[in-house]
Symmetry: C2
Subunit: 337 residues, 2 copies
């Protein structure tokens, strides 16, 4: 079989050799998602199968629905790290700060950094960055397959979880032929898409659906129907028995409407405001809009936080910024036609 | 490369040869879905590329969101069929009646039947039935690849649409290693998952989300939270500017809740009642429950219609039947433990 990541082949082999007799900790970012956990767990399991001592560590707990991607793999919080020297490998972290200051202080010079984020600046001694990959789990799966490393059924399922979640279940533009080929290989090693889907998508709480219902009831249209905004007022989590984690994905409903170019979620929480912006087309540059409010992100998905501002004031400012952007893109399209 | 469908290889070659100089019509079932349209369009395009005159024909119009899978492929309703002899190929039809009586009367002896449904009894002269395939489009894609037939970008995208929709975006149990391998091959030929997803999932109407919101607000739990029932009262389609087509998928929200084994949608429409039943586990045999109300379907997904009955009366009868079934399964599990 052809190599999946030929450009990494020799360097990854050297990297693996240099891990011999090391004690490894595989770290990922705050509020870990499926690609964090899937990548950490799979790398840890593969290293352990090679006889290298390895554990996973995260700044935040694993979300309930991703727990299946952990299995019996050792995973601790910062406080659970063993004493003594540890070799730190960061996965799915665009920069080291994403895992928080405690990890950064303890591991000032990370050994490795495996990631698919465009903004990753290669902060470790060994960097394996591929921005063309849909998930960090895709890179790791490819490297493991290229090097004929032992991927057990749990590692295969964890890698699958990382790929499935980071591609929005194979719906995002990042999904490539390689993505599907790798998933086929993972199935041959024990990945089970239907079992993963049952965990990821069929464990909603009544409160989550209540939250969704209230969000849908709040949808309002702006900019001639091209912007759709849904709101979560202060206290809604308590009222529905949910937490901020449950708000994930709500904004996609606002974007999913025909004719809507940009979906927005505005969340009030004890005096501060959080907003999520989602565009159908990267041309609308949500990252630039978010940056105007001290936020950031990607062209299609960005977010921001604001303090000491009334929600109506913020909303008016945001709508004005979005209207300006829609008009700028329209006139740009006219010019380049 | 290894053959994908070795068991069909010789027969499919012979079948293709026998189509030379024929005028072909590729037919699928009423209320066509993504797998119907995707399979019809791809087969029609491949045959035309081979110099065989072919068109698609359906008893019902193509849903708005599947239109992208048609492209510039000739597709007519029954009334649009040309006069004179036509060679009829049925795709994705478990039996010939699924395409309606008009087609059955005009084509009493179908030439071919390509399908993945368990209940298909092989009603044509040439039958290519594989129940292990996730979609009819998966079978066709495999056959086209095995025989090195020309799959153009539109055919690749249409086949992708069939596979993506019939697997619930790669979430159903039917999704296999072969499914992913074939999709990888289709991407190499021009399939674009993100573009398909934009058509399939990002063209909601405001009314559809309003319908979803009202359905979520109606959710009630029965049988100690193991059954979740949502209702659509009479007149809700008019009130939200939607149609029955928009109710598709609502019942999945009722099933998606943790601890819920069976999700139900009850729909009142001018004196009659329609119910959809969805189980997480086939052990609950929704087909048997539906059959008690003169309905039918599969173990995990079934439906029924009732006339001249009050919705409250029906609801009580259904809950009683479901409670009985849950208890029967529980005692069966005890016995076999």
């Amino acid at each position: 079989m052809e190599l999946i990541y030929p450009e990494f082949y020799d360097r990854f082999a050297a990297f693996l050799r240099s891990l011999e007799n090391q004690r490894v900790v595989v770290i990922s970012h705050a509020r870990p998602d499926g690609d964090c956990i899937g990548s950490q767990v799979a790398l840890t399991r593969v290293l352990r199968a090679l006889g290298i001592d390895a554990i996973c560590a995260n700044p935040d707990p694993t979300p309930r629905r991703i727990q299946f991607a952990v299995g019996d793999t050792p995973l601790v919080r910062f406080e659970g790290l063993p004493a003594g020297p540890l070799t730190a490998i960061y996965v799915d972290c665009a920069d080291q700060s994403r895992a928080g200051e405690k990890f950064k202080t303890r591991f000032p010079a990370p050994f490795a950094n495996i990631d698919h984020h465009l903004s990753n600046d290669g902060f470790a001694a060994h960097n394996f960055i591929d921005v063309g990959s849909a998930a960090t789990a895709e890179i790791l799966a490819g490297l493991f397959i290229d090097h004929h490393l032992p991927i057990d059924a749990q590692a295969a399922q964890s890698l699958y979880a990382g790929i499935a979640t980071d591609t929005g279940q194979f719906r995002f533009n990042s999904t490539s032929r390689r993505t599907f080929m790798i998933v086929g290989e993972l199935m041959a090693r024990g990945a089970q898409p239907a079992a993963a889907a049952a965990e990821l998508y069929e464990r909603e709480t009544p409160g989550k659906l209540d939250l969704l219902q209230r969000f849908l009831a709040s949808l309002r249209y702006e900019c001639d129907g091209r912007v759709c905004i849904g709101s979560l007022p202060d206290g809604i989590y308590a009222a529905t028995g949910t937490s901020q984690e449950d708000a994930e994905g709500l904004v996609d409903y606002a974007r999913s409407i025909e004719g809507v170019d940009i979906g927005v979620l505005i969340e009030e929480q004890s005096g501060s405001i959080k907003a999520s912006l989602r565009a159908k087309d990267p041309v609308y540059r949500m990252d630039l809009i978010a940056a105007r409010f001290n936020g950031g992100g990607h062209a299609c998905a960005a977010g921001l936080n604001q303090k000491n501002i009334e929600v109506d004031t913020f909303r008016a400012q945001l709508v004005a910024a979005l209207r300006e952007q829609l008009e700028a893109v329209a006139s740009l399209k006219k010019t380049t036609r």
